[in-house]
Symmetry: C2
Subunit: 335 residues, 2 copies
């Protein structure tokens, strides 16, 4: 049984998209789990009623909607607010309130498509980091020609030290085991050549440190290895990089597939032919990326998330709770 708090006010399409996601998820999740809708109660109730009135499977949804808990949070963090606003400026925002529920033992996970910087700041400040960490990291799943790989950090930290890169490797190893089901996750360090002496200063130092970190470190991997899900030393489960490189790559990847599909459509390939591949690469399927390293569960969704993407964020939150991801991260760091 898990209690998942959803930021009803977060994202470019709030409150419609989060409420629609909650309605989809509450049916899918089953009665043993609970969704906590955090935000302005009146806005949430109005939107919920509007969506229920328009729904086709109305009876089912009305019953499911009784399982929502609505938690009042009068303030809203805007996409343009500075991260610190979540902590100091708007302590009664849906984001701050939703995350505090976990610290108070009233919730097991938080999911938001709102301001990512604010979510990171509030999650780190309220939930705190596991012992041994200096920064949290965002772990994003990249579809590949083989199994999906988790790339981290994909945006939480722009300037990373070698020590932090090693921390990301530890976080990624637990994620790959708990969420992706890899028994002994193969960890690659993203660089510009496979030789240990290739890379920027932080990467070169991290390479040496990873050799003695007790992880299944397979050495440096290159940009070309990520879409293949493998390098010449075998499959890759985790790609470690700084958050600047990871964020650039993530956004590049999200954009290059539609660009290619557009070119193919012009070349006469039909939508039906593209369908399966478009679906395989649809980021909405992967939904939410966990902020790894905090004591608790905080799932970051894309600002422009569709209801389906937020629903998958909710499911990602549930998986993190059920697999005890955060606890296992604490144990990994203690070894």
């Amino acid at each position: 049984m898990a209690r998942i708090a959803l930021d009803a006010m977060g994202g470019d399409h709030a409150p419609q998209a989060p409420i629609a996601a909650a309605l989809m998820a509450v049916v899918e999740l089953g009665p043993e789990h609970q969704i906590q809708l955090v935000g302005r109660s009146s806005v949430i109730r109005d939107e919920l009623n509007a969506q229920l009135a328009a729904a086709s499977a109305r009876d089912l949804l009305v019953e499911a909607a009784t399982r929502f808990e609505i938690i009042e949070a009068p303030d809203v963090i805007e996409m343009t607010d500075k991260p610190s606003v979540a902590i100091r400026g708007k302590p009664n925002s849906s984001m701050a309130v939703g995350i505090r529920l976990q610290a108070e033992g009233k919730s097991d996970a938080f999911v938001s498509a709102g301001n990512t910087g604010a979510q990171m700041a509030a999650s780190t400040f309220v939930l705190r980091l596991h012992e041994g960490l200096t920064r949290p990291a965002i772990g994003t799943v990249f579809p590949t020609a083989r199994q999906p790989v988790v790339v981290l950090d994909s945006g939480a930290n722009v300037d990373c030290s070698a020590t932090e890169l090693v921390q990301f490797a530890r976080l990624g190893a637990v994620y790959a085991r708990d969420i992706l089901g890899r028994a002994s996750p193969a960890i690659g360090l993203l660089s510009i050549g496979e030789e240990p002496e290739k890379g920027n200063a932080a990467v070169k130092e991290a390479h040496q440190a990873l050799l003695g970190a007790g992880l299944n470190f397979i050495g440096n991997v290159e940009g070309r290895d990520i879409p293949m899900g493998a390098c010449d030393r075998g499959p890759i489960d985790v790609v470690v990089c700084d958050g600047f490189t990871g964020n650039v790559l993530l956004k590049f990847y999200e954009s290059v597939a539609p660009m290619l599909f557009g070119m193919l459509a012009k070349a006469g390939v039909t939508r039906e032919q593209l369908g399966a591949v478009v679906h395989a690469l649809d980021y909405a399927k992967y939904g939410g990326a966990p902020l790894l390293g905090v004591k608790g569960v905080s799932i970051i969704c894309h600002g422009k998330s569709s209801p389906e993407a937020i629903q998958n964020g909710i499911l990602a939150g549930l998986r993190a709770v059920e697999s005890r991801l955060s606890q296992h991260i604490g144990e990994q760091l203690a070894t």
Copy 2:
């Protein structure tokens, strides 16, 4: 009239691929230009004779081959050699000899698919940098949904200062004007958000410096904007980034297209349907990337280059000579 020196010993498929490329290029270029084959004369002559013997348009090629100049260089730089070897260890390598020809006024451009680090070191050491530069940069053309964009640095410098990023912007502006034909190249700084305060320390500082650099600086661009060839402020001609990020992106891009095509082929899309798009993205078409900033022309080809890719490297060298790219870079830096 241009004299283009080709490293006959450089690349994974040397000497076959460079010699085949030279035979293709010498026909295409016309009699006013000259190709200088640099390497072990006996190896070059044997390979040339073997290829001529097997060629279908033999007469044409034999005539064209008389226009080759073969320049003896007894040593070969291996792919695994350290960059400094090109300068100190093997001064009589095909790479060192080929580049020295320019310094001696006997050649106009150098093209190699050999050891990139060695080529950068030798080019910088022998040709020297234009006044005002601390580092050269590799400019790579990325195909996009619109016009191609030049991304630099794509691998020459792993740790870059803000000052160097601004230098790359100047180099890229001249390249986009001279080679891509853009009248007033739009320059984007690669970051993780369009706001000036987004990015790592070097990027944030570079953003401020670029505002007053007298270039058509359009602000930060993100990973997603590159495949589109545009951001919400319009088309992009030049993307400025450090060589770590640029190299990771370049290799990622080279690999993601084949991965997608593989998935599409499995989904039933035919080779004929993919053909036009595969061709549009074929890196061999773009062939060689210039090492921008040196006083002269040094074109870097992929180690695994096909003859077609090296031929395009030779043509890239010719375009750099004819457009007076290096002289224009000197002028841009002097303003």
